[in-house]
């Protein structure tokens, strides 16, 4: 799907009052009826996700080329697709670029998001609501709509960005600058867009986390003589740490699988081979289905390696 808004991903486990223990379901019925309730959702997920995943895994160990498109049975080739991909320096370049893009974006998003969340908690009501509305506008707008606006903003001839740099800032060389042609400035534009879209989620989640810090604890600390900075570092930060941890991991997951932004910018006139990240690279392999399958599996393993930690933590901390 598109980059999830309120999150196509489970919530950060914000500690709330009212524990899971008193919510434990207690009805018992003959199980058959209960399982019937699960059938529609299970079937839908198995058909739409499980089956394609399994099929992709199988085909990544086969040769599936043009001949197979026309009905010849696929041939088992073992790990050949994988070795072919993993011995190609270009593929390693794509993986490295994706990881670098992902880390830079996640770090910048987290830094700005945390700063703005603290700012949101410190300012008065009017300023806070203004900031919240600004964030919500960026968060709620459909990805494709915002992508077209950003393309327009960075348009080489009539874009506002070039105008701003050339006129008020006097950088004449930027008048007709094409941002997407050089990979480095291509990634710069992509980063600006991705960060702009991702920061609101971080702000709202961290802000919600900051609100969880009990007033009494703060007052007690103040009475004990703790200054503003001390209270922040010794009470607030440790209390929102679980939220920060989860939000940061979500950013890593989302930024690793970024597709729409890169693909749309590529179509706007960037050299595709030099700007591929994992998602767009897999898409470009579409004609060689086995290779695409193997590459997708590599990406899946990479994602699971990054998220395994998160899942384990969720399972450990939560009474499901």
């Amino acid at each position: 799907m598109t980059r999830p808004r309120a999150a196509a991903v489970p919530a950060p486990p914000v500690p709330l009052t009212g524990t899971a223990a008193d919510q434990v379901p207690r009805r018992r019925r003959r199980p058959v009826g209960v399982y019937l309730l699960l059938v529609p959702a299970t079937v839908a997920m198995v058909v739409g996700l499980g089956y394609p995943l399994a099929r992709q895994l199988v085909i990544s160990f086969q040769e599936y080329g043009l001949a197979q498109q026309f009905g010849r049975p696929a041939e088992w080739v073992g790990l050949r697709n994988y070795t072919e991909l993993l011995t190609d320096p270009y593929v390693w370049g794509v993986i490295a670029r994706s990881l670098a893009f992902c880390l830079v974006n996640a770090v910048v998003t987290m830094a700005i998001g945390m700063a703005l969340a603290v700012l949101m908690a410190k300012v008065g009501r009017a300023a806070r609501i203004t900031l919240q509305v600004g964030m919500l506008l960026a968060w709620g707008t459909p990805v494709l709509a915002t992508m077209t606006v950003w393309q327009w903003l960075f348009d080489s001839q009539y874009g506002v960005v070039n105008w701003l740099l050339a006129e008020p800032f006097g950088m004449d060389g930027m008048r007709y600058h094409s941002w997407l042609i050089q990979p480095l400035s291509f990634y710069f534009v992509a980063t600006v867009i991705v960060v702009w879209m991702s920061v609101p989620f971080v702000v709202f989640t961290v802000f919600a986390g900051l609100l969880q810090v009990p007033e009494e604890t703060m007052e007690a600390a103040e009475l004990d003589g703790a200054g503003g900075w001390q209270r922040f570092w010794l009470i607030t930060v440790p209390m929102v740490k679980p939220v920060l941890f989860v939000v940061a991991l979500l950013q890593v997951i989302w930024d690793l699988r970024v597709f729409t932004q890169i693909y749309v910018l590529q179509r706007a006139g960037a050299p595709t081979r030099e700007t591929h990240l994992l998602g767009t690279y897999i898409y470009s392999l579409a004609k060689e289905f086995s290779m695409a399958g193997a590459m997708a599996t590599i990406m899946l393993v990479l994602t699971l390696a990054l998220t395994g930690l998160y899942i384990r933590r969720m399972l450990r901390e939560e009474e499901l």
Partner: protein
């Protein structure tokens, strides 16, 4: 904090808010400008002598109307199916204890970690072998699968939030179990169902990647694909029309989003902490 400091921080917050919403302002503002005002060396910052002609051209465009229909059909089907399926599943996991319950919840969590971008080729192949490429039904199948995990997660929090004691009290007063459920619990779940529905709407209406893969026929484009089709590298883009189209697609979404954002966030938090 002293007054000056507070005032400075407040102004900083307002400046950030203005900078952050500028692209959205620019989208709406540009949508009202005629082409000769858009393509000038100096940008027009306020559409003082604006025009509706860009909007008129979008609405008169038959490809927009077709795409609108496709988007509407896919979205409506996806929302109805995902709410229905998620609702009964959420009832099962939050009202009953049974073998495999925890496994189901873990599966929902794990499914959300699968990068959709690594799956689209095989989803395409699957739909292709079923002759469902370029069909509303085909796209709906992959959308529902993608929307379901989070919707179940969210509704599970809402269902758990209605105490079973209320229903039991209704049964003491003479209602049947089904009657108690529909008369007491169901109305209390309505806000959750609405939030889940809007979440599904946002996902299906905005989705780009899977639509790009599944809907290759121009006559079967969804709105995001239609919008992207307006911006082509090889010919001059009519930015006024593009911005009008983007505004038309975005405004209903933003309105929905502003209304349910709070509820969605609370559903999210509730889903994480309740059985």
């Amino acid at each position: 904090m002293n007054r000056v400091g507070r005032w400075l921080l407040g102004s900083l917050a307002v400046v950030v808010a203005l900078a952050w919403s500028f692209p959205i302002y620019w989208m709406v503002s540009s949508a009202f400008l005629p082409t000769n005002k858009l393509q000038t060396p100096t940008p027009t910052f306020f559409p003082l002598h604006g025009t509706l002609s860009n909007f008129r051209r979008v609405l008169a465009d038959s490809t927009f109307v077709t795409s609108f229909r496709v988007s509407l059909a896919v979205t409506a089907l996806s929302v109805v199916a995902s709410i229905l399926f998620a609702f009964v599943a959420a009832l099962a996991v939050s009202r009953f204890r049974f073998r495999g319950r925890k496994g189901f919840i873990v599966a929902i969590l794990v499914v959300q970690m699968i990068p959709a971008e690594g799956l689209f080729i095989s989803q395409y192949k699957m739909l292709d072998s079923w002759r469902l490429v370029n069909s509303v039904l085909g796209l709906t199948i992959v959308y529902v699968a993608a929307i379901l995990p989070f919707t179940i997660w969210m509704l599970r929090g809402f269902v758990a939030g209605v105490p079973i004691e209320l229903e039991e009290a209704g049964m003491v007063d003479g209602l049947s179990r089904t009657g108690a459920f529909f008369r007491i619990t169901f109305p209390l779940l309505a806000p959750g169902l609405v939030a889940a529905g809007v979440y599904g709407f946002l996902q299906a209406w905005n989705e780009y990647t899977l639509a790009l893969v599944v809907m290759t026929d121009p006559a079967q484009r969804t709105l995001p694909l239609w919008l992207q089709g307006l911006v082509e590298a090889d010919r001059a883009t009519d930015w006024g029309v593009v911005m009008a189209g983007a505004t038309l697609i975005a405004v209903p979404v933003i309105l929905f989003f502003l209304v349910v954002q709070n509820r969605m966030t609370s559903g999210l938090v509730a889903g994480a902490v309740k059985g």
